[in-house]
């Protein structure tokens, strides 16, 4: 993909984000932050590529270990973020009539 198509996706996604986030009810702003935390850890994709790559020489090995470390951090966020969001959302209950 060339730079311009990527930029187009990015700009469109910013607009989508703008409208979607304004529609989030203020009562759920804390879960919103927790879940955005979890999904921004999609950066794990880059970490996995780095970990799996065959490196050349010393910098290749360093690159792999940095990638593995990033996998650990991103996984903490992914599992922790989704789990804590689920825990919070399960608390929101309607009035029992």
């Amino acid at each position: 993909m060339d730079f311009l198509s990527i930029l187009s996706i990015f700009v469109m996604a910013c607009f989508v984000g703008y409208y979607v986030v304004w529609s989030v009810t203020p009562a759920l702003h804390t879960p919103l932050m927790a879940v955005t935390n979890a999904i921004s850890s999609v950066i794990i994709v880059g970490a996995l590529i780095a970990s799996a790559a065959v490196g050349i020489g010393g910098s290749g090995a360093a690159s792999k270990w940095l990638g593995l470390l990033a996998v650990v951090f991103a996984s903490i966020n992914i599992f922790g973020g989704f789990a804590v969001t689920a825990r919070m959302l399960a608390m929101y209950k309607k009035k029992v009539r």
């Binding site: 919103l32 780095a50 360093a62």
Partner: protein, 479 residues
């Protein structure tokens, strides 16, 4: 133009689907009813993204799968999963702001590490040209990615320390910090520009180091009262960091997510700033809450106020038609939410209408108070936002303020010299009676200003620990 690694169309499609799942995850949060389904969309999107990456980028050695590396990757995921799930289960809801700050720092750190490994082994990411140099566009993206990631990391660490109480909430003011900060920022941008000409290691590592330091410098002067804005802002940064890395990797899932998270944090920062009537720039410039302390001391004349007992409060509320409860961070600190819900239940049984009024900056992060009330089993349809309930105070018999202060201060509407002038506040003083639970008369809110509500004829001060006071009221109601 160089195209990077050949794009597998199926993988590209899968990443796009993952991105759409993330949009649906946020969309689900428009109502508590659809929110849990939304969260499952998020998990599905993440699974798709991770599995696609593992399938298309599995480690190879001499034409066969490199099992050692594959196992190492799975162990890394396992370690992260264990830490993440344990933390998520154990964390107290009061500590949510710290947890979110800690999570932000990890996103930032992961972005830095990915950018570093991309710099060390660019061929693996398909960002080298025929001569083996890193592509110019990729250098800018990498530079920005590592810079935003590092700022997110170090800024979030400071925010975490402040929220967790390891570091005082008071702003720390370095002399000449504005000049210093601007100089460092300019230095980072200049070095990223130079990085396009010279891909030596020192340029990249200096950008990384400077960005770590600017993160610390930017957050240190910001006081505790502004933490909701800071947490939201760092949320935004973590998104932009992910987007920058998405540009480097040509990955749509990362770009869509980065844009979503970036806008989300930016909108939340805006909502928080508006709720405090502060401009974003003045929050970033820092120092709020440092000067206010000295000005509070001078005009301390003794004004008469009324003290009430738990029995008085119980009687007043039981006679009322409608009670509006205004909780603030003090309620969370005292862990009074469960006792408060019990009090509400008794009142409802006796036919009193009970509502909760939430100011956007009550608590330490957006929506914090709502989560705490939900945890105490307060139904979410009894909890109202400022603009939805403010008109009702005039027809309300009792406003029960617990652990909140600045957000009820009428000076915000009348006193132009007040540091909180212009901030939208809850009109508690319009209720027939105001019951104000507070630890003592001495303490002032975050903004360090006195509150006229304390001294009104229709106000009764209930001076005690919030939780103890509510428990005593509940006891008195039972009699």
């Amino acid at each position: 133009m160089h195209e990077g690694l050949p794009v597998n169309p199926w993988a590209a499609l899968a990443y796009l689907i993952a991105g759409i799942c993330f949009i649906l995850a946020l969309r689900g949060l428009s109502s508590p009813v659809s929110s849990q389904r939304g969260n499952r969309f998020g998990m599905a999107g993440m699974t798709i993204a991770v599995v696609t990456t593992l399938v298309t980028h599995y480690p190879m050695v001499a034409g066969a799968i490199d099992t050692t590396t594959a196992i190492e990757i799975l162990i890394a995921i396992g370690i992260g999963a264990a830490i993440g799930i344990l933390t998520a289960r154990r964390i107290a809801m009061t500590d949510m702001p710290q947890l979110v700050a800690a999570f932000h720092s990890l996103v930032g750190l992961a972005a830095v590490l990915v950018a570093c490994s991309a710099f060390l082994n660019p061929a693996a990411f398909g960002i080298v040209d025929a001569a083996g140099h890193i592509l110019t566009v990729s250098r800018i993206e990498m530079g920005l990615g590592v810079a935003i990631g590092a700022i997110t990391f170090s800024g979030s660490v400071i925010a975490f320390l402040k929220l967790n109480g390891n570091m005082g909430g008071k702003p720390i003011m370095l002399p000449g910090r504005h000049v210093l900060n601007l100089a460092v920022l300019a230095g980072i941008l200049a070095l990223i520009a130079y990085f396009t000409q010279d891909q030596s290691g020192w340029v990249f590592w200096t950008v990384t180091g400077l960005s770590f330091s600017i993160g610390f410098l930017l957050i240190i002067p910001i006081g505790g009262a502004d933490m909701p804005v800071v947490v939201s802002m760092l949320n935004s940064y973590s998104g932009w960091a992910a987007a920058a890395m998405g540009f480097t990797l040509h990955n749509t899932a990362m770009i869509i997510t980065g844009a979503l998270v970036g806008s989300s944090g930016a909108i939340l920062s805006y909502i928080m700033c508006r709720a405090m009537n502060r401009s974003f720039i003045s929050v970033i410039a820092g120092g709020f809450g440092a000067v206010a302390d000295t000005s509070g001391g001078e005009a301390k004349e003794q004004r008469p106020w009324k003290r009430g007992s738990a029995e008085d409060a119980a009687f007043l509320m039981q006679q009322a038609n409608q009670v509006i409860i205004v909780p603030g961070y003090g309620m969370a600190v005292a862990q009074a939410q469960h006792a408060l819900r019990e009090m509400g239940d008794i009142l409802k049984k006796e036919g009193v209408s009970v509502k909760y009024a939430i100011h956007p900056v009550a608590g330490r992060m957006p929506g914090h108070m709502n989560v705490l009330l939900a945890e105490a089993n307060v139904p979410y349809d009894e909890v109202f936002e400022l603009e939805d309930i403010n008109g009702e105070f005039a027809q309300t018999d009792v406003a029960f303020v617990i652990g909140a202060n600045d957000v009820t201060n009428p000076a915000a509407k009348t006193d132009k010299s007040s540091p909180i002038y212009g901030m939208p506040v809850l009109d508690v003083e319009k209720a027939k009676t105001v019951l104000f639970v507070k630890r003592s008369m001495g303490g002032v809110g975050y903004a360090g200003v006195d509150n006229d509500v304390f001294y009104m004829d229709n106000t009764m001060m209930l001076l005690a620990d919030a939780k103890k006071m509510v428990e005593e009221i509940v006891k008195a109601m039972a009699h």
